[in-house]
Structure formats: C-alpha cells, structure tokens
C-alpha cells in the first residue's frame, strides 16, 4: 500500500498534476488553531490538499485546516485545477463535453471552449465575478487504446473508454504505479450503450440471427439471407474501440474475425450515414449513433429476440451492452476533477446523458403489465422442468411488485459481477441510504440459465440473489434496516430472456433482478 502511494507520489511529482509553480519549494504548514507545525518541500496542491515531503515522510494536509507560509505556498485563489481526458472519440465528441458544460453551468462558472480542432480542445472555466480561472479541462480524442496509452505515459488524468481495460493495460498500469485498473473503484460507467446491426432503410430484412450476422461480418457468408444480393460491409476505423467491441462481444466468442475488404469510415457518424445510403450495406455500430440507418433486430436460434431499448439496456437484458467508462488512476486528482466525477452519478447528469443521445443510468420501474413478452416466454418454456405450479408461485410472489431496471449480471461462468452491475451495487446502496425505498420491500430475485437440472438451478439462483443482497446491504452503510425490507427469492430457469443455445444467451439468463413492492 505504502509502495503504491509512494509510486503514485512519484508519478504525480513527475507529471502534469503538479502545478509547475509549486514544484520543489519550501513551505511551512501550521495548524490554524496553533500548536502543530510541519516544514518541508511542497510536492503538490490540488485545490484542497497540500502534499508535503517532510522529515516524517510524505504528508497530505487539508488546506482548510492549515496555514501555509514560505516561498512555495500556492495562492489558493490563483489555483487552477488542470486535468485531461483522453480516449474514445465517440465519448469525447459530445457526451463528456456536454457533462463538463452542465457541471460548470451548475457551479455558476463561465465557460469558454478553446478549439484547436475536433480532436483537441480545452474548456476554460472561470469565476464570473473575479474572472479568475477555476479550471482548464483538456480533451484529446482518439481511440480507447490511445487513451490508456496516454494514461501510462502520464499524459492524461482520465481515460474515456468504450470497453474495459485489457489485461495488458491493467498490468502496465500496475507497473507504472497507477493502481489496479480492474478494481471497480478505478472505473465508472458514465452512460450505457449497445452494439446493434444497422442496414439501409431500403433493405427489406427486419431480423437476423446472431449466427447469420457473425457469418456475414466475418466474410464466411457473402450474400443477404434468402437473397442473392451481395452484402457490402462497412466498418469503423482500424483500432477503434468499436472494432474492439465487435471482436470482444460478437466475433471473438464465435472464433471469427472481421472480414477483409471492409469499407472503413472516419467515425461512427460517417459509418452510420454510409450504411444509410447503401441499400446493400451492413455494419454493426453503437445504438447511440445509428443516424439515418435502420436497426436490425437480433434473434436467437430459438426465436427469442431481445430488443435494444432504453430499459433493456439499463436492465442489461440486451446481450450486447457496451457501457461507456471513465477510468481514473490511483492518485489524487484536483478537487474540481473529483467533484466533476461525483457529478456524473447525479440525476442532473443522467438528463445530460440522455440529451446527448446515450442511455442514462436513472432507475426505472417496469410494471408486470409491461413484461408481457417475458411472461409469454415463460409460459412457452413451461414443461416437466419448470412446472405450472412453479410459474404460479412466481406470479403470486411478484404480484403487486414492479421490476427495477437495476439488475445484476455476472462475468462469463463466474460469480463476479460485471462492470455495469458492480456500479449498480453502489447505485442501489446510495438509493437505500437516501431512504428512496423507505417503507417498501426490495425483492432480490435470482434466475439461472436452463443448463442442468431445475432444482440445482434454483439453488444457484438463490445463492446469487443472496450474495447480491448482502453486497448491497454491506454497501448501504447509512440505510436504516428497519425501513426497507430486503428479501430474496429465486425461480431458476423459469423466466428466460434469451435462448440458452449460446454463451450470450445464457449470460443474459443468469441474473439477479430487483423487484420493488
């Protein structure tokens, strides 16, 4: 731990988080009440805390509690929070700037955007009364991979990522003293998105199976299903986050890779527009940027067809979710940057996310009446394994309750929550802390895939539901346990959401839902 902190300190001293004027200067910090006094070399000041190298080691002191004297003292007024966001263009073009602008506007700060070009720009936030600059927030837009590379090189403070950090990126960051990027504390989901296949509006095709889509994307199949017309594949720029998502979620699991001879486009908007113009065109893109193209509905081999909607993305019922992440290194960011990160999980930020064309993470309730397709699936799947009695028990125990969009899903084959679900634990705990469910009952309902026996599946589902309930309970430190009942229920494979014949289908089915009564 200490080694990591020292490592972070070393990095902080080396790179840009340190205001240049404050480097290697002597300061004396004395407690405002008098008594304690320490002297040393000021390593950094982030607008809130002094980090001082003293004979006792590196100390971090709250600037509110101490007085600073000496040539190295930064002016509190003159302090300008500087930080950089680097990474995915799809995230940095509209979404993150809109969030910065909204954050600054709510703070009453004056905003000016200094533009070098579309990929390099800086927000200058200043106090309207005094004209003092409060922050300089720099954006560098490229790809997710470049963003992580910038983090390793000390050229950015935050990474905008369309995917989770890869194993090699995690290893390099650990080596560089930036902390464990795979730790949920190092990343947060800013907005939700998903991969969707798109075609021109002139294309008569409405649905496609995942298998047929993969065959077309990999070039194994060259013409449209049931037609002789050739498929013209369009794609994102080489090395983009979208291409990585395609490989990770769609092609990789099927052992396929993207076909050669794909027509590549400069950005996601150009990709969607090109497909919209090409009657034979096909591409997989992000749901937030389908432009004028039409979304092709995906189906599983058994006919179940999860639809990409705002609610199904929030509930992770759509299998090809692609949330947008912000990664932070394990070092103290300027106060204003930390406050900005705090702003991202507020309801105000969710409105901005939605306005920017992405799916927000605001919690919604889905009444039983709006779940007809799911119930139809359940009835269709009833038989010797899932009996009518079991379905009736489910209907009875969920009567009068509504499903929250907050759901929990697990990484392939494990009991570890995936990234979006890990964020959901904290989000649900915050809601409990704030008394959002006071006087009501939260039911954690476990479901499983259809592999194996029904009784065993029900046991597994119940254990998962208990684990999630316990995790939420542990995270909600301020919640009054007498005000909200947290109960557990399990129905195993009774309510399938996707076909069990594929990895992605089973992953969608293995879940813990939260119902509110």
């Amino acid at each position: 731990m200490i080694r990591m902190l020292l490592g972070a300190a070393f990095f902080a001293a080396l790179f840009m988080v340190v205001p240049r004027a404050a480097t290697a200067q002597d300061v004396t910090l004395s407690a405002r009440g008098g008594g304690v006094e320490v002297s040393g070399t000021l390593l950094s000041f982030d607008g809130e805390f002094y980090r001082v190298d003293t004979v006792y080691g590196v100390l971090t002191l709250d600037s509110q509690a101490v007085l600073c004297e000496g040539p190295g003292c930064p002016g509190l007024e003159a302090y300008v929070a500087e930080f950089t966001l680097s990474g995915a263009r799809s995230m940095g073009a509209v979404l993150m700037p809109a969030l910065v602008e909204s954050f600054a506007a709510r703070r009453g700060l004056k905003i000016r955007r200094l533009i070098e070009d579309d990929d390099n720009f800086t927000y200058l936030l200043s106090q309207p009364e005094t004209g003092h600059d409060a922050a300089r927030i720099t954006f560098r837009l490229s790809t997710t991979g470049e963003g992580f590379a910038d983090l390793l090189a000390g050229e950015t403070d935050l990474v905008m990522a369309l995917r989770e950090a890869r194993a090699d990126e995690v290893a390099h960051a650990l080596e560089a003293g930036l902390g464990d990027l795979s730790d949920p504390a190092r990343s947060r989901v800013v907005a939700l998105d998903a991969l969707v296949p798109v075609v021109s509006r002139e294309n008569p095709l409405q649905r496609i199976t995942v298998g047929a889509l993969v065959a077309l994307l990999s070039g194994a199949e060259a013409s449209w299903p049931g037609r002789e017309d050739p498929v013209v594949l369009h794609g994102p720029p080489r090395g983009s986050g979208l291409e990585e998502l395609l490989a990770d979620h769609l092609l990789g699991p099927a052992g396929a890779s993207l076909a050669q001879g794909l027509r590549r486009h400069a950005d996601d908007a150009a990709l969607a527009d090109a497909v919209a113009r090409d009657p034979l065109g096909l591409a997989v893109t992000r749901m937030s940027e389908t432009g004028t193209a039409r979304v092709l509905r995906l189906t599983g081999a058994c006919g179940m067809s999860p639809e990409p909607t705002r609610r199904s993305l929030k509930a992770e019922d759509y299998p090809f979710a692609a949330p947008l992440f912000l990664y932070t290194p394990a070092r103290r960011l300027p106060l204003l940057a930390r406050e900005f990160l705090g702003f991202l999980s507020t309801p105000a930020a969710q409105i901005v996310v939605r306005r920017a064309g992405f799916t927000d993470q605001g919690r919604e309730e889905i009444p039983l009446a709006a779940q007809g397709e799911r119930l139809a699936n359940a009835i269709a799947g009833a038989g010797p394994e899932v009996t009518l009695q079991e379905l009736q028990r489910m209907a009875a125990s969920l009567r009068g309750a509504a499903r929250l969009t907050t759901s929990f899903r697990f990484r392939g084959g494990s009991t570890t929550l995936d990234a979006q679900s890990a964020g959901n634990v904290a989000q649900l705990a915050r809601a409990l802390d704030s008394g959002a469910f006071a006087g009501r009952e939260l039911i954690f309902v476990g479901f499983s895939d259809g592999e194996g026996g029904a009784a065993a599946n029900r046991r597994i589902a119940r254990r998962r539901a208990q684990e999630v309930r316990d995790a939420v309970h542990a995270a909600a430190v301020w919640a009054d346990p007498s005000r909200t009942t947290l109960s557990v229920e399990a129905f195993g494979e009774a309510l399938p959401m996707a076909c069990d014949d594929s990895d992605w289908g089973r992953r969608v089915n293995r879940r813990v839902e939260v119902w509110l009564r």
Binding site: A93, I111, A276, I351, A356
Partner: protein, 348 residues
Amino acid sequence: MALKRRLIAGGMTLAAAAVIGHFVHPDGSLFTVMKPRHTAPLAAGSAAALEGAAVVPLAAQPDARLLPEPATEWGLPILPQDAATQLGPPRIKADLPGRVAALDAGYAPPRTDGQRFNQYGLRCETALRAEPGAGGMVTLRLEAPCQPNARVTVYHDALRFAVRSDSSGLLTVALPALREQAAFLVTLPDGSTASAVAHLPEMAEYDRVALQWQGRAAMRIHAYEFGAEFGQPGHVWAEAPASPEKGAEGEGGYLVRLGDAGLAQPMMAEVYSFPRGTSRRDGAVRLTVEAEVTDGSCGREVEAETLQRGADGAMRTAALSLHMPGCEAVGEYLVLKNPLQDLKIARN
C-alpha cells in the same frame, strides 16, 4: 401586439453631434464647432449626455461611415447641430418655464421629447413591430425616421446581430424565433431602443441551432439532413439555405443568415431550423461549423458563440475560441463537427 417604445432624453442627439463635431477645415487648421448657442437649461442636459457618451465602448459607437454628412457649407456660420430637427415649440430664452412655475405650483414644463421631426416632417419616433410568419419566423419592421442608414443591433434571446436601416430609416428583417413568447429589442446609434414581442405557438415544432460571431470571420453552419452529402439536396447552408415555407411543410430544414457583413464591425449570425414536429422522415441531421482561413483570421483566435438546446430544453449559449491554422492555409476551411450537436429526429 404590444409595442413598447422608449426614446432617450433630448440631449443625446446633441451629444452625438458634439462627439463627432470636430472637423478639419479645408485650410488645414483644426476647426472646432462653435460652443453651442443653447439656453442654460439645455446646456446642462447636453453636458450630462456628453459624460454618458464618453463611456460608450468603442464597439457600441455608431459606424462613422454611416452618419449623415454635416449639411453646412464651409465658411458659413454653423448652426447648432440639432437645429434642423428642432421643429417643436420655439425655445423661449427668457426662462418662461421657470417664471411660470414660480407663479403656478401645478405647472409642468411642456415635454419636448418625441416631438422632433425629420426633414420630411415625420416625427422622430422609433417604432418596432414583430409579425409572426411561416416556419416559426418573425418579421421585424423598424421605423426610425430620424436615423437613416443607421447601424441597428437586433437582440432576441441570446441571439444578436447588426444590420443597417435604409435611407428613410426603415428596416425589415426576418429571423427565426427562439421561443414561443419571443421578445425582440433593437438598439440604434443614438442609444435609443425599441422592443416588440410576438407569440409563435408553432415554434415548439422546431429545433434550432445558431452560430454567431463578430468581425470579419467567414463562418458558416452546414446541415446535412438524413445522410445528404455536400452539394446534394438536403445539404443546407448559406449558399443553399432552403426556405421556411419548405420547413413549414415538413420537407426539411432551412437556414437564415443574419447581419450585414458590410458594416464596420459586423455582428453576424446563422440560424438553422429543423421542423422536428412535422418531419416526414427520421434519422440524423449532421451539423458542422466551418470557418474559412482568411488573411485576417489565419494564425489567430476567432471568437464565436453557439446557441443550442441544453439538457433542460432551454437555449444555451456556449463561447468558443477557434484557433485558426497558420497563414499558409489561407483559403482552406477549419471544419468542426463537434461544437454543434447533431439533431436526432424521430418521426411521430
């Protein structure tokens, strides 16, 4: 339609005349206008107005090229500058108001504001009317008979631009309203203002974005509707602006360019409108901002503002500084896709 008018107090025209009242005599000597031959009460007023005029920022001052030439023959005694427009009641030098006031406590001196006339005998009153039109457009009609060829700055919400009135002080300008209850304000070189409001219920059907800038920067909005490419139908910009009528029929968006680039310090704006409510298509409208690299702008910062709907649905202004490429790139364009967010249209 509610009309509000406000004329600035009497000394202001006089003040403007005094500010510009330094001429160079043909013989080369600096020739200053004689001390005004006003009576005492007016002189006090003009001094106050002069003080006021001294703090007017340079940008707000009237365009010198547009001001009427002094009508006097050189060499002849010069009349006070406001004499031509002073056709109201003759001034009584013997301080009649003062003397009458001493006799009658209820006496108020006659108001002479608004009772001046121009050379055609029209009252010097500034009037503004706002008429709603198709496509959420409003036609502003300004009458300022005593201020011909004047720089008129129009303000509406956060939008602002400067145009020039004609030789009879008339101005007609059509602009897209940015709200249902739209208020308009114009300011004139003499500091007088006029305002008008219009109600545009159909305004809610429109998505609008605007770009505005000051100075000689060559900037444009380009809108590419539903996948249109440059020069194709559906590419809407200053050189293919489409019409508000087309917008009203749900065919597509239209662009209005506002401001007079020929003024000394131009204030320009472009507004793109898309009829979201009546659109017959759905998809995306891509919006880009284009700035031409010119001899005047190369290697410099160019300031501009964008107006677009914020998260709360209200129009929000964002200040931009564009770092223009160096002068070797003169004639090229800086094209920015991100300052204006694309419109996503879902058909009802």
